[in-house]
């Protein structure tokens, strides 16, 4: 039942204090005065409580169980971080208060930026971007500004591997680049020949994620960096997969010029049903002046915002980004420290390789090699034999109370699962997952239709998303 169906005319869920101020007439032309109330729900407080409590119960979440969604780093979201972010001293301040009255917030941002620079090996950073994709756009705009600042107007192209996350080409396009896709090599990594052919004077930037979306480390990264820089282009790092490298190496050390991070992945801030996140962008020194406005600076022990950046790409959103997400990430970094971060990286990679070993007994591993924090497995052959698709297996996993891995991504593997366990999962959980997966394949062999019709034990059964898009219903229909 929707909240609109619970609604009853004249029921109320609020009360406001009186403010003793006389009523002022709406001093407006009649046609600007609203005639018909918006059909918002009219419910009592307990109605609201029950509605959302019952909706929440229909959600799977990290707090419910294993969530091996590849590329998304669904690690545990510590509760202390939530508590800190909700402190009024952080949540109730206005972005335009005198900066003397927000030194705590500015200091937090400044220190977070410094810590993230250290972790990425970059020289400067902005915390403003609201998510990974927003960071990508920011980074690509910086690349654009860089070349233009040198008067180099011919660099209209951005190279993106075919294994890249969809946001990469999309962001490159939004930043005004023509996207050149290069095919991955047989080992799932950048094919140096392909790259070489694509690299010309019109190339502004190569976007990579390392480990890439197959969970494989680009071993030739130093070579790649050399090739790219030799051609006068920049190297962009999609930091979605940084979890794998914590404590071992840094994008800056590998030759990347620009990097974006996902605080809502590596740095444990919760995904909030899809957001808000935060996508800081770090750059090497020569690109610092292009970072967006405003920048946080420290002058004589005072923290300030600097709006005077003539070479900047400009504003990329209002205010200073998703501050309360930064608070969570900062709390996490204080909690983990250098020793903890190292463990994070190691255990994330250990978990992925261990699970890979378990899964390879059940499904084919797309690129059977040591993986980093995640790996891709495929059931393409099995699908051909049985008609049971990766999608069906995924749905059946839900019946067993675990979330399905990412499906059908990266696009270069078919009928695939991209599995990322993260470091916060125990061996027991991984063993259990492998066991369930194995059981489902047995089920699928014995009774393919049974699995094709999964799930059975979920709040709703398999949903028809094809006709949902064909004859879309965008909103509740109140009838007339």
């Amino acid at each position: 039942m929707t909240i609109f169906e619970i609604s009853k005319s004249n029921r109320i869920g609020y009360e406001l204090p009186e403010n003793n101020i006389n009523d002022f007439d709406l001093n407006l032309p009649e046609h600007l005065i609203r005639k018909e109330d918006p059909k918002l729900p009219q419910v009592s407080e307990v109605d609201v409580v029950r509605h959302y409590t019952n909706l929440a119960a229909k959600n799977y979440a990290v707090d419910v169980g294993f969530y091996p969604l590849g590329s998304c780093t669904m690690k545990y979201n510590p509760k202390i971080n939530e508590k800190i972010a909700n402190l009024e001293g952080f949540s109730m301040i206005h972005p335009f208060q005198p900066h003397e009255t927000t030194q705590g917030a500015l200091k937090l941002m400044f220190e977070l930026k410094e810590m993230l620079c250290e972790i990425t090996g970059m020289d400067d950073m902005t915390l403003i971007p609201s998510a990974g994709a927003h960071g990508e756009l920011t980074g690509m705009l910086i690349a654009r500004a860089y070349h233009l600042s040198r008067g180099d107007t011919k660099r209209t192209k951005a190279i993106v591997p075919d294994s890249a996350h969809g946001t990469n080409p999309a962001s490159a396009a939004m930043a005004g680049f023509e996207v050149v896709e290069i095919k991955s090599g047989p080992d799932g990594r950048v094919d140096l020949e392909e790259l070489k052919n694509a690299l010309d004077e019109n190339v502004a930037v190569l976007m990579l994620t390392n480990p890439n979306t197959l969970g494989l480390f680009e071993k030739d990264i130093l070579k790649i960096s050399e090739m790219v820089h030799e051609k006068g282009a920049l190297l962009y790092y999609d930091g979605a997969n940084l979890n794998a490298l914590l404590g071992i190496t840094r994008p800056g050390d590998m030759g990347f010029d620009i990097v974006h991070l996902n605080l809502h992945k590596t740095f444990s801030t919760p995904h909030g049903m899809g957001g808000p996140g935060s996508g800081p962008v770090g750059v090497k020194k020569h690109l610092a002046k292009f970072l967006p406005i405003p920048e946080i600076v420290k002058e004589n022990e005072e923290y300030k915002l600097n709006y005077n950046k003539p070479d900047s790409i400009g504003f990329i959103r209002s205010n200073y980004g998703n501050f309360s997400v930064m608070v969570r990430a900062y709390t996490y970094l204080k909690t983990m420290g250098k020793d903890g971060l190292k463990k994070v990286g190691q255990m994330a990679v250990l978990n992925a390789n261990y699970l890979r070993k378990k899964v390879e007994k059940i499904m084919e591993i797309a690129y059977p090699d040591f993986c980093m924090h995640e790996f891709v497995s495929t059931c393409e052959k099995f699908t051909k034999e049985t008609g049971v698709k990766a999608l069906d297996i995924a749905k059946r996993l839900l019946d067993y109370g675990v979330h399905a891995p990412t499906m059908y991504f990266p696009l270069i593997v078919h009928e695939d699962f991209m599995i990322e366990p993260t470091e916060t999962e125990s061996k027991d959980t991984l063993d259990k997952f492998a066991e369930i997966l194995s059981k489902i394949f047995e089920e699928a062999k014995e009774n393919p239709d049974f699995v094709k019709n999964a799930p059975y034990n979920t709040p709703v059964r398999r949903l028809d998303d094809v006709s949902a898009s064909r004859k879309p219903v965008f909103r509740f229909n109140f009838g007339k």
């Binding site: 929440a56 939530e82 927000t102 916060t424 061996k427 059964r461 879309p472």
Partner: protein, 439 residues
């Protein structure tokens, strides 16, 4: 190991054995080790971290709600406790994008309901399930207008939020879209003549605020009448005001965007808020962002899924309607809970109280000889000439526990000593009278 990392030494050994290696180092095949240790502190226990962070939070000054007269896109409203309690449910907070719809009906239904509410408020036919903020929502609206119209000029009122305009420029420039500004008149409203003069055959869209950055309620009808049919009419609005202002959808808007923070979200030093984005069905395939739709499961039971994903980056890639992936879904939930609690009458009351308070302050200021900068009708914000050295006086005010009307000179150089005053239902008569004592 660590409270967030469950591995015991025995387990690590078993796992290494299963993998067939001897040590953790062996995992990093081909990865250059470039660091031994970050130049960072070691990790700390929760109680130490908590203490440090609480202390840090206290280095920010909190003003009593009633003494806050700052708006400019970030607003203080009363937020019922129930909003916070419900939106903090960890089954919402720690869920991801609803890729597996069958176990994400909580997310999907609440976002579907949010979309419905935003459609109701704006009078539009479709809403997406969120953008990052008002500024990026506007920037994306401009890109969308150009996708629809294929013309590269956009006319935007100078009176919209400067940060929104700047952001839009950042987004539009690489697409070779030109943003031309339309002047305001003495009312603080769009100068219709200037608008008419600047419209040409290359114009894709016209953008106005409703209310605009100065709080002025633009006459959308008049503006709509001034622009040719095929030009996309983009309205940047403020959701609370829409409970008493005629819905832009009824006045000819093609796209209505704005910042939704006022709907139950704490100010958070400016983020996260949420960008809302609504339009007409005929444009939906050009729209950025995720949309949730209603459907049925195999048993015929109602359910919700993400729809029209072929517009999005993960399928359309470089030709997607936007690069947006993670959005501000949790804030959309918060908005929906807030609107559920307040209902139409509550929202209207908030709007009316805000309106009254702002008009009371304006009247009193005028009585004291202060001049309002614009003559047009305003909602809950207005610009006035605050007198000599206002910037310094404003800082002093903050030492007296008042976050006064925001000085505009930093963002609008022509507005020296001018201030943007904001009132909402949190401001009492007493607090306003108290503020006035400083003027």
């Amino acid at each position: 190991m660590h409270r967030y990392i469950p591995h015991t030494p025995e387990e690590i050994n078993e796992m290494l054995k299963e993998i067939g290696i001897n040590s953790l180092e062996d995992l990093y095949v081909g990865v250059p080790r470039t660091i031994d240790d970050y130049n960072l502190e070691n990790g700390k226990d929760e109680f130490t971290v908590k203490k440090e962070l609480i202390n840090l939070s206290k280095e920010n000054k909190l003003f009593e709600l009633e003494n806050i007269f700052a708006g400019a896109g970030t607003y203080y409203h009363f937020i019922p406790t129930v909003v916070e309690t419900l939106a903090n449910n960890q089954r919402f907070v720690t869920a991801y994008t609803p890729y597996q719809a069958e176990v994400s009906q909580g997310t999907l239904q609440s976002l579907f309901e949010y979309q419905t509410m935003m459609c109701e408020l704006t009078g539009m036919e479709v809403a997406n399930s969120s953008m990052y903020d008002g500024a990026t929502a506007l920037a994306e609206a401009m890109l969308m207008a150009v996708r629809i119209n294929n013309k590269t000029k956009i006319l935007a009122a100078s009176s919209i939020n400067p940060e929104y305009l700047f952001t839009s420029r950042t987004y539009c420039t690489p697409q070779n879209i030109e943003i031309q500004e339309i002047k305001w008149d003495e009312n603080g409203e769009v100068d219709i003549n200037d608008l008419k003069n600047k419209i040409d055959s290359n114009t894709s869209a016209v953008v106005v605020g409703y209310p605009n950055f100065f709080g002025i309620i633009e006459d959308l009808k008049k503006i709509k009448e001034a622009i040719p049919e095929n030009i996309i009419f983009i309205v940047v609005s403020e959701p609370i005001s829409l409970s008493i202002l005629e819905a832009p959808g009824k006045l000819g808007a093609d796209i209505v965007v704005g910042e939704g923070q006022a709907l139950g979200i704490t100010p958070n030093f400016g983020g996260p808020g949420i960008g809302f984005f609504t339009t007409l069905e005929k444009y939906v395939r050009k729209m950025p962002g995720r949309i949730i739709g209603e459907t049925k499961d195999v048993d015929g039971k109602k359910g919700y899924v993400m729809i029209l994903q072929t517009r999005e980056q993960h399928i359309r890639r470089a030709r997607a309607t936007s690069n947006i992936c993670s959005n501000h879904a949790l804030m959309a939930l918060t908005n929906a809970i807030y609107m559920s609690v307040m209902g139409p009458s509550g929202l209207k009351k908030v709007a009316k109280m805000s309106y009254n308070a702002a008009h009371y302050l304006a009247k009193k200021l005028e009585e004291k000889g202060y001049k309002l900068t614009f003559k047009g009708p305003f909602f809950n914000e207005f610009v006035f000439n605050a007198g000599e050295n206002y910037y310094e006086r404003w800082k002093k005010l903050s030492e007296n526990g008042i976050l006064g009307p925001l000085p505009l000179e930093k963002s609008l150089p022509n507005f020296k000593n001018k201030a943007l005053a904001c009132c909402t239902e949190v401001n009492t008569k007493e607090s306003i009278d108290n503020l006035l004592r400083h003027f």
